[in-house]
């Protein structure tokens, strides 16, 4: 490809996950991010207790993200063939971990507000 455009990149992701699932995930990620920003502004501080819980969820998010990508691409851990593969795998895991942490933190904040 001679030019890298946002349109092409979106097309690649639509192809990976299917159009419906990709946009569902985009919307879900936007909602969670917006909710996270909302609770940060509302509470005006990070709760370290909630953050601890969020950190504990990170390994689960990492593993889930890796399994999800592998299921989507007919792949397994045995297919890791070189350093770049490990880097891609770790990248997926890191994104899964961060996503899970934000999700758990936000969920706790929203949930406890209703209880309180």
């Amino acid at each position: 490809m001679k030019e890298l455009t946002l349109e092409t990149l979106i097309a690649v992701f639509e192809e990976i996950f299917g159009r419906g699932l990709f946009w569902t995930m985009v919307v879900a990620a936007l909602i969670v991010t917006a909710a996270y920003v909302y609770v940060l502004i509302r509470d005006r501080s990070m709760s370290m207790r909630k953050f601890l819980m969020a950190q504990l969820s990170m390994p689960f998010g990492a593993v889930a993200a890796v399994l999800f990508v592998q299921a989507m691409t007919h792949s397994h851990l045995r297919d890791i063939g070189g350093p770049i593969d490990v880097i891609v795998l770790l990248g997926v895991a890191v994104m899964g971990a961060i996503g899970a942490a934000i999700l758990v933190y936000t969920a706790q904040s929203l949930f406890r507000l209703r209880k309180a």
Partner: protein
């Protein structure tokens, strides 16, 4: 700000996260102002090459009369056929409508080109139309000469252990029916390659590797053999890749039969007949003999030639590929050597490499440049170096991203990152998920 200068091109396959997104939004292409012209441009073929070119031309030209001639209603994403024939994608994965991809403001003649008169500059169609042109782009693809193999016919595909994935989406799916039986029951798997030039020279190897990988983890584990028979003396046209494939074949216990050309098959007895060529040790003369090989699963790839209309029109090479009829073009500009207003693109072009969609992606901007330069009365500057890319699948989940040019040099897109001769997961990801999206972007003239 453009990313083009950074050779970011093929990196877009990766699309890694937010940094990529941010960079991409800055890298939107900038188009030059459209050039006013009344030129009549006829394009034969609405496959990957014809479609990609027409979408670029409508952005570059204003007022040109562009006609594209193709009777086939379905557009085929041919790089997906290997995946269909290994049960990894459905046949529908490779099929869309020709008209889905064509821009407005052009004329589609849904007929076949029946004759080309390069002196009078007209194309006659199967429906009796005569299309005069100022510039002609010949991109009809190639024909699979199944009749050249006595004993074989397409209605056999999918039964009695016969596969032929090149023949199209439905046949690729039927190929998997036959191959799946082999991966469950075992026996002798015999994989062939034609003596002619062919589409994607990696595909015969991919099919062999994939079916072996699936069989090794299926019911056939431990009770099957893989045999690979090819008329050529090497497993791949690029020597360094051929050596790597030879090592992989060795590791996986494949038996190779080099210089074996498939002549005919006897489907009832499950036997295939090959012409074997040997060099006599003392006289150095070629000695031909006939060899029979038994199979439980046979993958047939027939000889491939330029369509009859090309071979009858006097556009073919007179002294090269005389049994195949590829168009006589300059290998750097793809311009016809005797008729400068004619260009050839894709499979039909008579150049040493480049019968792949990846080659088309590199060929189309070259023809676009020279065509527009000709309209403006100047000389174009872009050249095609024979770039061909082959994500050579070696297992479900692994591939080698092999890229090379006319000189058999490896031209890796990601030197130091993605080693071309290593079996990598990331190369598989590119083939399985990123390739179709970039192909579609290419069809729209955006890549």
């Amino acid at each position: 700000m453009s990313l083009t200068g950074l050779a970011a091109s093929r990196r877009a396959f990766l699309g890694l996260g937010a940094a990529g997104l941010a960079a991409a939004s800055l890298g939107l292409p900038v188009r030059a102002d459209a050039i006013a012209t009344k030129a009549r441009i006829v394009i034969i073929g609405a496959g990957a090459a014809g479609t990609a070119l027409v979408n670029r031309l409508v952005q570059r030209l204003d007022g040109a009369q562009i006609t594209i001639v193709d009777a086939r209603a379905e557009h085929l994403y041919q790089p997906g056929l290997s995946l269909v024939a290994a049960g990894l994608k459905p046949a529908s994965y490779t099929v869309s409508q020709t008209t889905d991809w064509l821009p407005s403001g052009i004329t589609l003649v849904a007929e076949y080109a029946a004759a080309i008169d390069p002196v009078a500059k007209t194309v006659a169609t199967s429906g009796g139309k005569s299309l005069p042109y100022d510039f002609l782009i010949v991109a009809p693809g190639l024909v699979l000469d199944h009749d050249a193999i006595p004993g074989f016919s397409l209605d056999m595909v999918g039964q009695n252990g016969i596969g032929a994935l090149y023949a199209g989406p439905a046949y690729a799916a039927k190929t998997w029916d036959a191959a799946r039986k082999f991966t469950e029951e075992g026996g002798v798997g015999l994989f062939t390659r034609p003596a002619t030039e062919m589409k994607c020279a990696g595909a015969p190897l991919k099919h062999t590797f994939l079916i072996d990988d699936i069989a090794s983890r299926g019911g056939a584990a431990g009770k099957y053999e893989i045999h690979y028979a090819a008329p050529q003396p090497a497993l791949f046209s690029v020597p360094i890749v051929a050596e790597k494939v030879r090592m992989l074949f060795g590791e996986r216990g494949f038996t190779t039969h080099m210089q074996h050309k498939l002549l005919s098959i006897e489907p009832g007895q499950k036997r295939a007949t090959f012409e074997k060529t040997e060099i006599d040790a003392t006289t150095k003369a070629k000695v031909k003999s006939t060899v029979e090989l038994a199979y439980d699963y046979l993958h047939v790839i027939p000889p491939q030639r330029a369509p009859e209309v090309i071979r009858q029109s006097g556009l073919s090479w007179a002294d090269k590929w005389t049994d195949q009829g590829w168009v006589e073009v300059d290998q750097k500009t793809l311009r016809h050597l005797r008729y400068p207003e004619i260009f050839a693109l894709g499979d039909v072009a008579g150049v040493p490499k480049g019968k792949t969609a990846a080659s088309v992606k590199w060929m189309v901007p070259v023809v676009e440049d020279h065509l527009i330069a000709a309209i403006q009365g100047r000389e174009g500057t872009e050249t095609y170096d024979g770039y061909t890319s082959c994500p050579l699948i070696t297992r479900v989940g692994r591939a080698m991203l092999v890229e090379f040019d006319y000189n058999n040099n490896l031209v890796p897109s990601f030197p130091g990152m993605i080693a071309p001769l290593e079996e990598l997961w990331i190369s598989w990801l590119m083939k399985e998920v990123a390739l179709k999206a970039t192909y579609n972007a290419m069809l729209r003239g955006k890549a």
